[in-house]
């Protein structure tokens, strides 16, 4: 790991000021992605701005229309939160599928979305649920937030403060895990919302999580696994690696989507 200067921010304003002031500064939340990348020298921030002592970033609130989760909410907190379990049980389940218990005690919602790992779980949930990512500068719809592999539209001095997930009528997430890393080889989040159905896929995209309009249209007509029979996602453009070929991933997307719809229907 390269040397850096460390700052423990005590407030949001201080954190964003530090990020604006220092070139190549980066916020650190749970550190479960950033520290491993720094060890490999894949990331080499000049300054680290620690968000762990910033107040007001970890609340979880359930209103009649949305579930609002603070950026610093740990995966473990989201997993056991009564508000999340009541509002969007699929999201509570998803948080419990991330990594292992020790990773879940540190890793955060904001860090996961900002990192936009193409095999991470939360980006699929954000896309499928039509979440709004609230930052220190603006409110960004999930559809406009992700910008390719490990890229988002966040500016260097912009911090996620919370994420608002509109409550779906039904939702479920199905994850086909890489048996070693436990990241998704393919994960599919399906949400039946009041006015539309959304299907979002993680793990398979060569440039990150994506939606599947053909599946969405079919499910809009009838929200049943049978509606997806005969439909598939082309293998072209999907990720292909030692764990799974693009063709296998394309196949898994169909399987996981049907299972997710079945699970959402209970």
């Amino acid at each position: 790991m390269y040397d850096f200067t460390y700052h423990r921010a005590s407030g949001l304003r201080q954190a964003t000021n530090l990020l604006a002031k220092h070139e190549d500064a980066k916020p650190i939340a749970g550190g479960q992605s950033l520290l491993p990348m720094m060890k490999f020298r894949l990331a080499s921030p000049s300054n680290l701005v620690d968000l762990n002592a910033v107040e007001g970033l970890n609340g979880i609130e359930l209103t009649s229309r949305a579930l609002v989760i603070g950026a610093m909410a740990r995966h473990a907190e989201v997993h056991v939160s009564p508000q999340v379990q009541q509002g969007i049980p699929a999201l509570a389940a998803l948080a419990g599928m991330i990594g292992d218990p020790a990773v879940r005690h540190r890793g955060t919602l904001g860090g996961s979305l900002a990192n936009n790992d193409p095999t991470a779980d939360y980006p699929a949930a954000a896309l499928a649920l039509g979440a709004t990512i609230v930052t220190t500068k603006r409110k960004i719809p999930a559809d406009e937030f992700f910008a390719g592999l490990f890229e988002t539209v966040l500016e260097p001095d912009e911090l996620i403060t919370k994420v608002s997930f509109p409550l779906p009528k039904k939702a479920a997430y199905q994850k086909f895990r890489n048996p070693a890393s436990r990241y998704a080889i393919v994960g599919v989040f399906v949400a039946k919302r009041p006015a539309e159905v959304r299907v979002a896929v993680t793990g398979a995209g060569a440039s990150g999580a994506f939606r599947v309009p053909a599946f969405e249209e079919a499910l809009q007509k009838r929200f049943h696994p049978k509606s997806l029979e005969g439909l598939s996602v082309p293998a072209e453009g999907l990720a292909s690696d030692i764990h799974a070929s693009a063709e296998y991933r394309a196949h898994l997307i169909g399987v996981m989507a049907r299972r997710a719809v079945a699970a959402a229907n209970g």
Binding site: D3, F4, Q32, L35, P36, D100, V103, R106
Partner: protein
């Protein structure tokens, strides 16, 4: 160099560290508490698991400076004097270790499982919860047995429960 202070196994400690020092390096090299191991240094194996403010974390994936003001519990802080903690005793009784390299992390993780899931643990739960802890020797079978037995023994050992029973 930054100065970091925290409480480790109940003792206040304070030291100047290179900012890049990982919590596990701080424990092992600065404090010479070498019970916490480094198996992978890539957040996979769980040999480095300690408790920070009451929850299990991988100490290779946290900076020492991030533990400023924290309460840290390592394997050295688990026994009571010469008496092994019931979870340690269960590993001994059930042959839950061979080379012992993974054991400190296994035990710290096991204590965290009991904190979250209680004293009656089935095999499936234990195996799922051990997702982040690798063992290259035992094949896990006796580790799972040890944790189930240790969790039960801790129920009998819990002073609050004993008081309630009296």
């Amino acid at each position: 160099m930054p100065v970091v202070s925290m409480t480790v196994n109940g003792n206040p400690v304070r030291a100047e560290v290179d900012v890049r020092t990982l919590l596990v390096q701080f424990l092992r090299e600065t404090l010479r508490l070498t019970g916490t191991h480094v198996g992978c240094d890539t957040s996979q194996c769980g040999a480095c698991v300690v408790h920070v403010n009451g929850v299990a974390v991988k100490s290779c994936t946290m900076l020492a400076v991030q533990a400023e003001g924290a309460e840290v519990l390592t394997i050295e802080g688990v026994a009571r004097g010469d008496a092994l903690h019931p979870m340690q005793e269960a590993f001994r009784q059930n042959h839950g270790l061979q080379c012992g390299y993974c054991t400190p992390g296994m035990i710290m993780t096991a204590l965290d499982i009991v904190r979250r899931k209680g004293h009656e643990l089935d095999d499936r739960t234990i195996r799922e919860e051990l997702e982040g802890n690798l063992c290259r020797c035992t094949g896990y079978h006796n580790i799972v047995k040890s944790i189930a037995a240790g969790a039960r023994a801790m129920a009998g050992d819990d002073p609050a429960r004993q008081q309630a029973a009296e």
